[in-house]
């Protein structure tokens, strides 16, 4: 009351008015409706952006593999194009273009312009046939298209090289002889032979990869033995001579085996080369495509809903289980999924023990004081350090200092090719482990703090020691929180890309980090990563238009993985809570 009186004496009319008036103004103004609407607008905007983003990714990623009809477009200058429409857009024609049009084209352009405020529309047609036209896509203005049709026998080929091919089957060749004359017969022959050809192709690839790869490894091991002997005992020492002799024996044996394998490959190739499909493109050119080159042929306009659905699922299957082709813009992302999972697992194995131990010490053993609060501030600070800085640290310390040192001592024979002295799975996992350490420490600490002290005291009262109490009473109760932290760390680690660019993620890894060759897990190998795959596809691809849908699909996959991890964290937390809630006393 006295403050009020003072206010009044000091003569502050606004304050007085606020406090005294009970009229209409207060009734309206006190609700602050405009500002409440602004705050609500902020929330709605944030939610709308989140929803919009997810919807965009899900929609774009979802439709990538849905086969659209193949259209044949004839333009006013007489050229015909066959392909899929990937998108349409409005554009402003350059000055004088509209005036230069004649006849029906001018009418069409005028009509389109009238509908679009003077802008014209065009469509991007995926025409493929790169080796014939030198382009994968072509812009066509809508007003220039005079005829559209959907040819019944239009065929889309997904190939091993050169990207897609669009055309109509006109014949099937066996040993260079034309076996079928019409599309239906050619298609039937294709169906009969294609699976066998693909099987032979897979067999050939397996020979190349497994058996020839094993051979190369044996030769490399022998070469390294020679080099090791050279480093240890010098050139021309007995040990060196022995190793050199062994190397020569291996080389001779390998040469013989290589010849056998090459013959087998040649035989497989010879059978495969007998079959080819002859296609006629929209411009009338004919081309024979060997069946071994064809991954999949789709008569898109003959497919019903069921066929499309099967194709859609088959493409998703290929995406999830196959290797990339065509500079990553076709095929699958299995190595990237594998790399992401392997890296995240190794990272979790590294970060969880350290994080949990650190949190245990901070919460259960350390005495609260300046040092502990300094450590806490540092941990929280670590959480805010930009990920790229972790990457720089990882490259400078792990790769160059640690890795370089390991190479000097253990892999001297391989130098100057670095083994551990460059980016790799281990270093990437370690770097991300550092990055996610605060997540684990903070959530473990929170979980430990949530264990009621009465339980600890009860345990002590029963005569248990400190470690017994922690192990039997505290840790089990804190487990949900610890697991949540671990899963959140995994989610964070799986989505982080910037540091990986420095410590080991690559565009295309020739070998998986885990395989059947001793020691089975190759921590020094560089790997592919879904996040890096997105960056690489979207920004470093030569055929960026064709890569774009794949980026959306990969994005969808990555977001799904991270969302699943996050949801798993929530579920596990809830379930474990329920289980331990029963034991509450």
């Amino acid at each position: 009351v006295s403050a009020h009186a003072q206010d009044t004496r000091a003569g502050r009319p606004r304050t007085r008015a606020t406090r005294r008036s009970t009229g209409a103004a207060t009734a309206v103004l006190s609700r602050g409706e405009p500002l409440v609407w602004l705050t609500g607008g902020g929330l709605v905007l944030a939610l709308a952006m989140i929803a919009g983003l997810l919807a965009l990714v899900i929609w774009q990623g979802g439709v990538t593999f849905w086969q659209r009809p193949l259209v044949s477009l004839t333009t006013s200058d007489g050229a015909t194009y066959l392909g899929e429409i990937s998108r349409t857009e409005r554009y402003r024609p350059a000055a004088g273009v509209m005036a230069g049009l004649r006849g029906a084209e001018a009418d069409a352009a005028g009509a389109i312009g009238a509908d679009n405020e003077g802008a014209l529309t065009r469509l991007l047609l995926r025409t493929g046939n790169f080796e014939l036209d030198g382009e994968h896509f072509r812009w066509l203005s809508d007003h220039a298209v005079v005829e559209r049709s959907r040819p019944e026998w239009a065929l889309l080929l997904e190939r091993l090289t050169w990207g897609r091919f669009y055309g109509e089957p006109v014949g099937f060749l066996v040993d260079g002889e034309l076996q079928a004359q019409d599309p239906a017969a050619a298609w039937a022959l294709y169906r009969r032979h294609h699976d066998d050809v693909r099987d032979r192709w897979h067999e050939r690839r397996d020979i190349e990869r497994n058996e020839m790869g094993a051979m190369s490894r044996r030769m490399e091991t022998a070469r390294l033995a020679v080099r090791t002997a050279e480093l240890k005992a010098g050139v021309d020492s007995p040990a060196w001579r022995e190793a050199e002799a062994a190397r020569q024996r291996t080389a001779e044996a390998a040469d013989a085996e290589f010849t056998v394998l090459r013959e087998r490959i040649a035989a497989l190739n010879a059978v495969n080369d007998r079959f080819a499909l002859r296609l006629r493109t929209a411009s009338g050119a004919e081309k024979d495509i060997p069946l071994a080159e064809i991954v999949r042929a789709v008569p898109a306009n003959r497919l019903g809903i069921g066929g499309r659905l099967r194709l859609y699922l088959a493409r998703w299957g290929e995406f999830l289980s196959d290797e990339p082709r065509e500079a990553n813009s076709e095929g699958g992302v299995l190595p990237a999924i594998f790399g992401t999972v392997a890296m995240t697992l190794v990272m979790t194995l590294l970060v969880v023990p350290f994080g949990v131990l650190a949190a245990l010490y901070l919460r259960e053993y350390a005495k609260a004081g300046l040092l502990v609060s300094l450590v806490r501030i540092s941990v929280n600070n670590l959480a805010g350090v930009p990920s790229i800085v972790f990457g720089v640290f990882g490259l400078g310390f792990f790769c160059y200092v640690l890795g370089g040192g390991i190479d000097q001592f253990l892999f001297a024979a391989r130098l100057p090719n670095p083994t551990y002295g460059t980016g790799g799975l281990l270093w990437a996992s370690l770097t991300l482990a550092l990055l996610t350490l605060p997540v684990v420490i903070v959530s473990t600490e929170e979980a430990l703090a949530a264990v009621p002290n009465s339980m600890r005291e009860g345990s002590y009262a029963c005569g248990a020691g400190k470690w017994q109490t922690i192990r039997r009473i505290v840790l089990p109760r804190a487990l949900p929180g610890i697991l949540t932290g671990a899963i959140l760390a995994m989610a964070r680690g799986a989505g982080e890309v910037a540091p990986l660019m420095l410590v080991g993620a690559v565009k295309l890894a020739p070998e998986l980090p885990v395989d059947g060759v001793f020691p089975f897990i190759h921590l020094e190998r560089s790997f592919m990563h879904l996040g890096f795959h997105i960056y690489d596809l979207g920004f470093q691809s030569q055929n960026s238009e064709a890569a774009k849908p794949m980026v959306f699909t990969t994005t969808l996959l990555l977001i799904t993985i991270i969302a699943v991890l996050n949801l798993a964290a929530v579920r596990i937390r809830a379930q474990l809570r329920k289980r331990y809630a029963a034991g509450k006393f």
């Binding site: 209409a24 409706e33 602004l38 965009l56 959480a383 805010g384 930009p386 420095l502 960056y535």
Partner: protein, 644 residues
């Protein structure tokens, strides 16, 4: 090219051409060229030096007293005098040594007072010379004690050595104007000749009758605090500049490690993303904590939190490949939306006020739906207004307008001033109009007041627009045009795109921490306030927000830290051009993106590699300060919250 000066003062240029016939293998030599009569000036007192530069298109005649003729011999058939100048402007001083720097376009001049200067030939618009170039004294090196008697330039970097008459030798880094070493010949005799080995490992000098030799180990000498942060005059530039350019096409390329453009880029990205993300995040947090039904809050908050773990590579990709093209296509609409969305929200609120008191109370739970409906209306309004606005303000083509080709500066000023005038209008409302209105409206009904309030809002909005337009006209008439400074040529990947998308990336973080801080304010405070008759809004703004202030501040700090260090979004959506340009519509490069782009290719332990580590350290220091401040404030807040 050969240049010969004869005793009669005639300067002759001959260019030698060797041609090899591909079929016969025969080689033919041809000689062509021209002459220039310099007359008695050159014949009576012949010049001390005649030098040809690396490409052979410029010759220098230098007399003892510093008088210099620069001859343009780009066409050897017709050489001409490009300019006359004095290499030693100080009266009475003489040129005692002359040498080319690596690349052979810049001159290193030593005089009898011990000064060494580097002269750069630069192209300038205001150059007096006929070939549009001029020779400028770019660097003056730390002086020596006696006359310069010998100069030697390194053949791989901008390192040079100068020998003096008193037997001392100095090793310089030209661009950084640093003296790397001061040496002394054994018997203090004048240095007669100097040579630097091609790999910069050795320096030899002839002094008196002895030959002296030094090993040089001067790693990273091109880099100093000054070259990293201050403008530096590089060869080929017409003035000191702050440049980041780490690789070049030629052998005599000089790497330029100015961190300023990168730090500027980092700040630019942070500023615009905070400008967009901060208000939305804080407002959303306040609404979630104070106005949302707990059941809805329990669903909304985890949803936003989960967005915090959305990989930034996804956002970057969407920004660059989806958002940037759309924005470039519909820029006027996007700009209009920045104004139209808040306007429609405020308008909606004023209309909502018209509801009778009981209806308003009953419908309070549905308010968020009404707000959600207002948002698309705002966007729709922006879409409708975009085209006409472009025609009205930006001469029908905003890209050309930004480029400075069409239209005048008023549209730009309006864009910049409208937020200010809107703020001024808000201030006028609360300070002047509302107190008056309160007095007048004592006997009015609630609805009537609300109607008047709506009219007041519309009038003020119009007034704000009009005053902004007036100010824009005045500023434009005064000859100031915002184009070329904060606005300018549109590049598809620019600060606006990054501002939007990175703003979106920091929203979840700021939102989560801010909401936690608001939620930590004990409920008994709210209950007391509401019990005393305050409305929810009054409680929120006067009771809940003040104690949570330090928590909100720490949220902002953490958000800032995230924005400073964010890599993938700027890497993909900012265009990666390391330039110092305030233009909202231009690209930039941040410290983080620069590291991501260049570190994988940097040679280990090179100056480039170390500079990138320094960039990482800078980044670390920036976020360290922000995070520590946030953490300290947060701890204090927590202590305070316990006391409440």
């Amino acid at each position: 090219v050969l240049a010969v000066l004869d005793a009669a003062g005639g300067l002759h240029f001959r260019s030698v051409r060797t041609r090899r016939n591909l079929f016969t293998g025969e080689t033919t030599l041809s000689l062509a060229g021209g002459d220039l009569a310099l007359g008695p000036a050159a014949s009576e007192r012949p010049p001390r030096h005649l030098r040809l530069d690396g490409t052979g298109d410029t010759a220098y005649l230098v007399w003892d007293d510093g008088r210099t003729l620069r001859i343009d011999a780009a066409h050897p058939a017709g050489p001409r005098i490009a300019e006359t100048l004095d290499l030693v402007p100080e009266a009475g001083s003489r040129v005692t040594a002359l040498e080319f720097l690596v690349g052979k376009t810049s001159l290193l001049v030593g005089d009898d007072a011990g000064r060494v200067r580097a002269w750069y030939r630069v192209r300038r618009e205001d150059a007096a010379a006929r070939d549009g170039a001029t020779l400028l004294p770019a660097h003056e090196l730390p002086p020596g004690a006696a006359a310069v008697t010998a100069l030697a330039a390194s053949s791989r970097s901008r390192m040079a050595a100068a020998g003096y008459a008193d037997g001392t030798i100095a090793l310089f880094q030209i661009t950084g104007e640093r003296r790397l070493a001061a040496l002394r010949t054994p018997d203090a005799a004048a240095v007669a000749a100097l040579a630097l080995s091609p790999r910069e490992g050795l320096l030899t000098a002839v002094a008196g009758d002895r030959l002296a030799r030094w090993d040089i180990d001067a790693p990273h000498n091109e880099s100093s605090l000054k070259t990293l942060l201050a403008p530096v005059w590089y060869e080929g530039y017409d003035a000191p500049a702050q440049v980041w350019q780490s690789t070049g096409g030629t052998d005599d390329f000089e790497p330029k490690y100015g961190l300023a453009p990168l730090i500027f880029g980092t700040l630019k990205a942070t500023f615009y993303s905070m400008l967009f993300g901060l208000p939305i995040a804080l407002l959303a947090a306040i609404y979630t904590s104070e106005f949302l039904h707990p059941r809805v809050r329990a669903r909304v908050k985890p949803a936003v939190e989960m967005m915090a773990s959305l990989p930034s590579v996804v956002l970057g990709f969407l920004a660059a490949l989806v958002f940037a093209p759309v924005l470039a296509d519909r820029l006027p609409t996007a700009l209009a939306a920045l104004v139209a969305v808040p306007f429609v929200l405020l308008l909606g609120a004023h209309v909502w006020q018209l509801l009778p008191a009981r209806a308003a109370t009953r419908l309070e739970g549905r308010r968020l739906l009404a707000i959600a409906a207002a948002l698309p209306l705002g966007l729709l309004a922006a879409a409708v207004l975009g085209g006409p606005l472009e025609r009205l303000l930006y001469a029908g083509d905003i890209m050309a307008w930004l480029d400075g080709q069409v239209g005048d500066g008023r549209g730009g000023w309006l864009m910049l001033l409208l937020p200010l005038s809107a703020l001024a209008a808000a201030l006028v409302t609360t300070r002047l109009i509302e107190p008056t209105l309160r007095r007048v409206s004592r006997s009015w009904s609630r609805t009537r007041y609300a109607a008047v309030d709506l009219v007041k809002f519309l009038v003020l909005a119009l007034l704000a627009l009009a005053s902004a337009w007036l100010a824009a006209t005045v500023l434009d008439a005064a000859g100031w045009d915002p184009r070329g400074h904060v606005l300018g040529t549109y590049v598809q990947r620019n600060a606006l795109v990054v501002g939007f998308v990175m703003g979106f990336a920091v929203i979840p973080i700021i939102y989560t921490i801010a909401e936690d801080a608001l939620g930590a304010v004990p409920d008994h405070l709210r209950a007391a306030s509401l019990g005393a008759g305050a409305t929810t809004w009054q409680t929120a703004i006067r009771v809940v927000v003040p104690p949570a202030m330090s928590g909100l501040f720490s949220a902002v700090m953490v958000g800032l830290g995230r924005a400073v260090g964010e890599t993938m979004i700027v890497l993909m959506a900012a265009g990666n051009t390391p330039i110092l340009d305030a233009n909202l519509f231009n690209g930039f490069r941040t410290l983080s993106a620069n590291i991501a782009v260049e570190l994988p290719e940097a040679v280990q332990h090179s100056t480039h590699y170390r500079t990138l580590f320094l960039a990482a350290l800078t980044l670390f220091a920036m976020t360290f300060v922000l995070n520590t401040v946030a953490e300290i404030v947060r701890l204090r807040f927590r202590r305070k919250a316990y006391q409440l």
